[in-house]
Amino acid sequence: MIPLPEIDPPLINASGILSYPEVFAAFESAGACLGGYVTKSVGPREKPGNENPVVVYPPEGAVLNSLALPTQSAEDWERDLEEIRLRKAKLIVSVYGGDAPEFAEVTGRMSRFGDAIEVNLGCPNKEPGEQTIMESIGQNPALSAEVIERVRDETDKPVIAKLSPNSDYLAVADSCLEAGADALGCGNTLGPGLAVDIRSRAAILAGTTGGISGPALKPINLRMTYEAYSRFRCPIVAYGGIETWEDAVEYILAGAGVLGVGTAFMRKSTHEAAALTRDIWEGIQEYLDGEPMSALIGAAHRAAEGGGHA
């Protein structure tokens, strides 16, 4: 297994949040505590994604998005990553495609930029007429393994298999690790879910349904992290409703070594968002109280195995 690059601090953005390198660079300039930048998922061909509305946020901490992976072409992404340089964050290129060869094609192009490659196996959104990646690949252990194998052939960078919570994810993770993945991403958005406008009697999202992110996702992806760590003891990058340092610590105790922040940036200016990342990282450090972070990763399992009351 190829180790993940050292991401310091171990906080990153979630793919599709901020999306473009110049946005991440602005966060860095504003003093964000983010040790890594994950690109928007890069696909082989230009694709506009769904029409607006692409987000709806019913009350209570759930954001539904139906972006459906808009992307410029991989070629244009290359130009972007050549032009726009980050200060010191590691660069994780998120890749997707309609099938294994497409994933491989994009990885082949992007590998030289990335300190790691994240393979998006779990997007639950689609443009009309498409199938979602979640349905066509991410829910199927064999097809997911095929994607990872082909990606593996194209890169010597560490490969993160980012899973869907709406799958038999332990089976999928198992075949991905078998096929050469070095780490798991736990995970993509949930559902998808639906929101209906009762006045017009219409589904609100142009894509009808949307993947759920934010606090409502946390218990689900936290369990995924916990179960994946328990089974595989492999490096885990966690995503899902991380808004505070306490959320981050829950994920670390469950088994995550890198924490991705996405929906928590909602409605935050660049300066507010940068401050949020600093608060999260300071909170984690105070909690650690001098212990190395490695001592904390998966500690909930050791405590559970130890048994007895604390």
Partner: protein
């Protein structure tokens, strides 16, 4: 905030422009925007011109439909979103095209405003009479039907304690060097998807216009290499402004 309101009036302002009034007022800071939703059609950004209205220039399918709404029709609104203008003292409000409408609430909220307005023709100088009641109004039209014949930039500089500019990006870019870096604000437009700072679509040199803007101080705009030059299309590809 997300709500569906009923349209109560469609007021024709000019050949290309209509003001659509709805049945509830929305509290916002001048310069903040709303995502306007037409069920099953789409959702796009607009600035309130009245607490209960948007003024829309027909530019494509969505704005055609929006400008054609009739009393009783439904209109969905999400917002107010983004950062508006700070309170401005004796501002010169510099508007071009439908950007003039986006300055109306700011004009009403400002002490001793003056106006510098441009358009293709007289018909496009929105709210002309109303603004004249508020302060001095300088006008430039391309066909010379009203005021100076030419571009609004040709009326600059003007004397004022602060400046707010809202109009086509190339007009705004032309204004930038003619205005002081302090106490000047620009209304930046980019293609918007989420409108809440998540997707990054609306980037202008890394600032998310939906959340860091749409109103930016000139000092920030001056550092935006992409301003007046390039923007990201719906798919993220660079295109010229």
């Amino acid at each position: 905030m997300r709500s569906v309101f009923k349209v109560v009036e469609n007021r024709r302002e000019s050949e290309w422009t209509h003001t659509i009034f709805f049945d509830k007022e929305i509290e916002s800071q001048p310069g903040q925007f709303m995502m306007v939703w037409l069920p099953r059609l789409g959702e796009k950004p607009f600035t309130l011109s009245y607490p209960n209205a948007v003024t829309v220039k027909k530019a494509g399918e969505f704005t055609e439909k929006l400008a054609a709404l009739e009393p009783g029709d439904e209109i969905g609104l999400r917002g107010p979103l983004g950062q508006g203008y700070p309170p401005l003292k004796r501002p010169a409000l510099i508007g071009g095209g439908v950007g003039i409408a986006e300055l109306r609430l700011l004009a009403l909220a400002s002490e001793e405003p003056s106006f510098v307005l441009g358009g293709r023709t007289a018909d496009e100088i929105l709210f002309y009479e109303e603004f004249r009641a508020l302060g001095p109004v300088h006008v430039a039209t391309e066909d010379g039907a009203l005021g100076h014949k030419g571009l609004v930039t040709e009326l600059l500089p003007v004397e004022a304690e602060s400046y707010a500019v809202c109009g086509p990006e190339r007009m705004m870019a032309a204004c930038l060097p003619k205005l002081p870096a302090e106490r000047t604000y620009f209304a930046v437009e980019r293609y918007m998807k989420c409108a809440v700072g998540l997707c990054g679509q609306c980037t202008c040199s890394g600032w998310r216009v939906c959340t860091d803007g749409p109103i930016f101080p000139a000092s920030t705009v001056a550092q935006m290499d992409d301003f007046g030059k390039r923007r990201r299309s719906k798919s993220g590809r660079w295109e010229a402004v």
